[in-house]
């Protein structure tokens, strides 16, 4: 039976490649996440590319979780559009997340819990998963002691796993090996029960298949090593690779994992992690550590970034390198803490009273997160300013198979320090240099003593308030912004899609890169000429590459996950482009089909007179 590939609701047939979207929904804490994680492991072992998307309830227990998993032979760019197989472990999950199932898709539901209303455009499999699991446990009751038996959970997940594997025609052997590994410590009886459960699940589905079509997952031969890693993990690895020696943070969803990861790993690299009393203290510690010569980072989410505004500004004004990671989450104030958003771009760019220099970067996918994090440290060091590194909930919690970073390509920048002669005679911490970057003495350097300060100051660092001085020093600091964009602006954007003149150009940032790339490819298949410019550097604004890109676009689409179209507004501030905005901010990432719709719309629009590029205003 050929695999049914689903992209944007359409169905293609292939005999060799795989592209399956699974969605698991159930009560939080009920094992839904475990089942998803095991499926990820199984598919990874089959050599497939994985891309996950999860939404969590904001409560610790209770509430519905959704775990979506796309397995594909070849690069996977998004969590997929139409769901091929929906596994609904309870009614509420089906209600909330059932509509993602594509027409003709497959539903596997826990028939102990509920019965879905019939739908002729759906293939249903009932699985009394609780009952089956209980039966498996009953079957070994006589072989185990009371206390152990009491604590032993019925193998619900394993039944589900078997059913699911069979449903996508995947082999059971790797799962059996996995069960042996996981339950080995608990003895043969428990292992046996689980293997039986696995087979029961598979058998139960097998009996129902008949000649109905099922999606099929083909194993792929791996070509090289691949990592299975989340965005948060990759960001942390990137920070260590960048030479970070100090991290301070305060727990906050969805950034906490970064601190947890680093607390475990950083000390082995000689670094320290402090869990601070709040985000202000976290950033204060980082500034202290960086002032002392050690590369530093903190990571937080919106509420924490809000609290850091005052100290970020100090970093800009006193010229202290630091990386501030913002794993964006949904909603203003406490909002939607477990959902995603691209709503903090404004705060990252404008969050300061008066103005001091800073840079804003955004990670675009799990693989890129490594490199953009390295860039963030490099830019912070090169230009002695705070760099805000944007990630978001969907990227941070996404598990994705990616090629491991090629460490031979890793180049690290260290801050400019005074040379020996300079230290001997009248060292000036804030020397007014051509590019605005002044050599920074590190405590311990003889001849380098100075006082770092956020008050306006002369080249030496002594406070001064005359208009002339204020103006001169501000120009010095902001020259760094020009130097940054001149040196790195071109490098920190990425182009996808068609070259040459296109009907639709997409300008975007952050974690939607893959989705947009996928939509672009879909549009190309429909013979729409389309290209995509993805900004890793947002601020200072990389105007040249943007204008060059825009020059070859008839219309420009700016899709983003926030309320007011923050990137589109930022484009307006920096260019004279007329763009088509598409934005929403309800907590969930874009779908490829959603972007495709807008590409189609723009491609269709008659706009002979329209040109995205306008002459710059005076």
């Amino acid at each position: 039976m050929p695999a049914r590939l689903s992209i944007s609701g359409e169905t293609m047939v292939s005999t060799t490649s795989t592209d399956v979207v699974l969605r698991l929904v159930g009560e939080s804490g009920e094992g839904t996440v475990t089942l998803g994680d095991v499926m990820v492991e199984m598919f990874t072992q089959m050599g497939l590319d994985i891309y996950t998307f999860q939404t969590f309830p904001a409560e610790i227990k209770g509430g519905t979780v959704m775990y979506q998993l796309r397995a594909r032979s070849g690069v996977t760019l998004s969590h997929g559009d139409g769901v091929d197989v929906l596994v609904a472990l309870n009614d509420e999950g089906f209600e909330l997340f059932g509509d993602g199932l594509r027409p003709g898709g497959t539903l596997l539901y826990n028939s102990d819990e509920f019965t879905p209303p019939p739908d002729s455009d759906r293939i249903d499999y009932a699985l009394p998963i609780t009952t089956l699991a209980k039966e498996r446990k009953e079957a070994i009751r006589h072989q185990l002691e009371g206390e152990i038996l009491k604590r032993l959970p019925a193998p619900v997940n394993t039944v589900g796993l078997g059913a699911l594997l069979r449903l996508v025609s995947a082999p059971l052997e790797p799962a059996e090996a996995y069960l042996k590994r996981v339950f080995g410590r608990k003895g043969d009886i428990v292992v046996g029960m689980n293997i039986e459960a696995l087979r029961t699940g598979a058998r139960y589905v097998d009996e129902q298949i008949g000649d109905r079509p099922t999606p099929r997952v083909y194993p792929v031969k791996q070509t090289g090593p691949r990592m299975m890693v989340t965005g948060n993990q990759m960001l942390s690895i990137g920070a260590i690779a960048a030479g970070m020696g100090f991290y301070a943070g305060y727990p906050i969803t969805p950034a906490s994992e970064i601190m947890e990861f680093l607390a475990k790993e950083l000390p082995a690299f000689g670094g320290n992690v402090i869990q601070a009393e709040d985000e202000i203290a976290a950033l204060g510690m980082c500034l202290g550590a960086s002032y002392a010569g050690v590369k530093s980072m903190t990571a937080t989410s919106g509420p924490g970034l809000s609290l850091m505004v005052e100290l970020m500004n100090l970093a800009g004004q006193a010229e202290i390198p630091v990386v501030i990671t913002d794993v964006q989450r949904g909603g203003a104030s406490t909002g939607l803490p477990t959902k995603t958003s691209q709503g903090d771009l404004n705060l990252a760019i404008y969050g300061m009273h008066n103005e001091s220099p800073r840079a804003v970067l955004a990670c675009s996918c799990v693989e890129d997160t490594f490199w953009t994090t390295v860039e963030a440290f490099n830019l912070a060091e090169e230009f002695q300013m705070p760099v805000i590194l944007l990630s978001d909930q969907s990227l941070a919690t996404r598990r994705s198979t990616v090629p491991p970073p090629d460490l031979t390509k890793l180049h690290l920048t260290n801050r400019r320090i005074p040379d020996p002669e300079e230290l001997q005679e009248g060292y000036l911490r804030y020397r007014d240099t051509e590019d605005g970057v002044s050599p920074m003495a590190i405590p311990g350097m003889a001849g380098g003593v100075y006082t770092s300060t956020g008050i306006e100051h002369d080249e030496q660092g002594d406070p001064g308030y005359t208009p002339e001085l204020a103006s001169k020093m501000k120009h010095k600091r902001f020259r760094k912004m020009e130097a940054l964009v001149a040196r790195h602006g071109r490098r920190l954007v990425r182009e996808w899609g068609d070259t040459g003149e296109v009907d639709v150009g997409i300008i975007a940032f952050g974690s939607s890169e893959g989705v947009i790339r996928e939509a672009t490819e879909m549009a190309q298949r429909e013979s729409i000429r389309v290209a995509h410019l993805h900004l890793r550097l947002l601020h200072p604004f990389p105007k040249e590459p943007v204008m060059e890109f825009a020059a070859r676009c008839r219309r420009i689409l700016v899709p983003e996950l926030n309320w007011s179209g923050q990137l589109a507004n930022w484009l307006r501030v920096n260019t004279d482009l007329v763009v088509e905005r598409y934005h929403r901010d309800d907590g969930i990432p874009f779908l490829p089909s959603e972007i495709l719709t807008h590409i189609r719309r723009l491609a269709d629009t008659d706009c002979s007179s329209a040109s995205a590029v306008r002459g710059q205003g005076a």
């Binding site: 204060g284 202290g288 960086s290 002032y291 002392a292 311990g444 003593v449």
Partner: protein, 306 residues
């Protein structure tokens, strides 16, 4: 409270000639008003730095914002004049990243006990090897004389007639009580708690020497009157109300220290409390790094995710 293996304070001292107090003086002249208590504090600090023979090149002085917080600029050492109230996070970051540096925090009572007061218990529990010197003038000097948490102003309910030019935000008397920072620090189990007076510069210098040499976090609250804006808690006021802590006081006795701190009849000067076996984050972090020594390899880390 827990205890750990304790090491003596490690100071970065001069390897060449011993430095005199004046060698620690920077080129920038202090901008304080004539008669400001902070002058006395600064010269006591110069003396203490000289006695401890600290290497200015390996010493960082961190401050917030306020008249007193301008101090780092007047010392020929590395300085960090940050924002209002964040002395302790910055100082902790420096010390954690660079345990080889001497770190001294300085600032005012507003900076340290009001906006920055939330950091104090946490600095105390982390117990990094930092000396924190508060120039307590019982007012906000730089913003021209509002009440601070340590201002002693008659209560509104007393109905006292207030001088309209003084205590500008409490023109009918204070509506709030004042705090006792020394008692608070003892409750934080701050491992060194002392109080000085800027008009007793020798004693103050001695206290600062002891604080600098103390292994762990040392708080030194110094009465440093503001003659420009505080006409109530003046040098005269404190001259009559301070007394030296009697020799028989045992600073390792926490209850006794607390009782002394709560003395309502006068203000004790000297070392109130010492907890010499309190663990320090600097040593704890060293223990972690040591335990994992040699295990840090990027390739390995990446491999673990393959």
């Amino acid at each position: 409270m827990q205890s750990a293996t304790i090491q003596p304070a490690q100071l970065a001292t001069n390897t060449t000639r011993p430095l005199a107090p004046r060698d620690y003086k920077s080129d920038l002249p202090p901008i304080w008003c004539p008669g400001c208590g902070d002058f006395g504090v600064l010269s006591a600090l110069f003396k203490a730095l000289s006695v401890c023979n600290l290497d200015p090149t390996r010493t960082g002085i961190v401050s917030g914002i306020g008249c007193s917080s301008r101090l780092p600029g007047f010392v020929a050492a590395y300085g960090f004049h940050g924002v209002h109230g964040r002395v302790l996070p910055v100082a902790t970051g420096i010390k954690s990243a660079r345990p080889d540096l001497n770190v001294i925090g300085v600032g005012g009572d507003g900076d340290g006990y009001s906006i920055g007061g939330g950091h104090l218990p946490h600095a105390a529990r982390r117990n990094p090897d930092i000396t924190y010197l508060i120039m307590n003038n019982n007012t906000y000097g730089l913003t021209k004389g509002q009440v601070s948490p340590t201002s002693m102003v008659p209560l509104a309910s007393v109905g006292a007639k207030m001088d309209p030019k003084r205590w500008k935000t409490t023109p009918y008397g204070n509506t709030e009580d004042f705090i006792n920072p020394i008692a608070m620090a003892i409750a934080y189990d701050c491992s060194f708690v002392a109080r000085g007076f800027s008009y007793k510069p020798n004693q103050l210098a001695d206290l600062l020497v002891e604080a600098i040499q103390h292994r762990g976090f040392a708080l030194v609250d110094v009465f440093s009157p503001c003659p420009t804006f505080n006409q109530d808690q003046t040098d005269e006021f404190y001259k009559h109300r301070t007394y030296d802590i009697p020799a028989e006081h045992d600073p390792t006795d926490r209850a006794a220290a607390f009782a002394l701190a709560c003395d309502t009849k006068g203000y004790p000067l000297g070392v109130l409390y010492k907890h010499t076996t309190k663990p320090s984050i600097i040593e704890e972090q060293a223990a972690v790094r040591e335990r994992l020594h040699g295990l840090g390899a990027m390739e390995e880390l990446i491999k673990r995710f393959e």
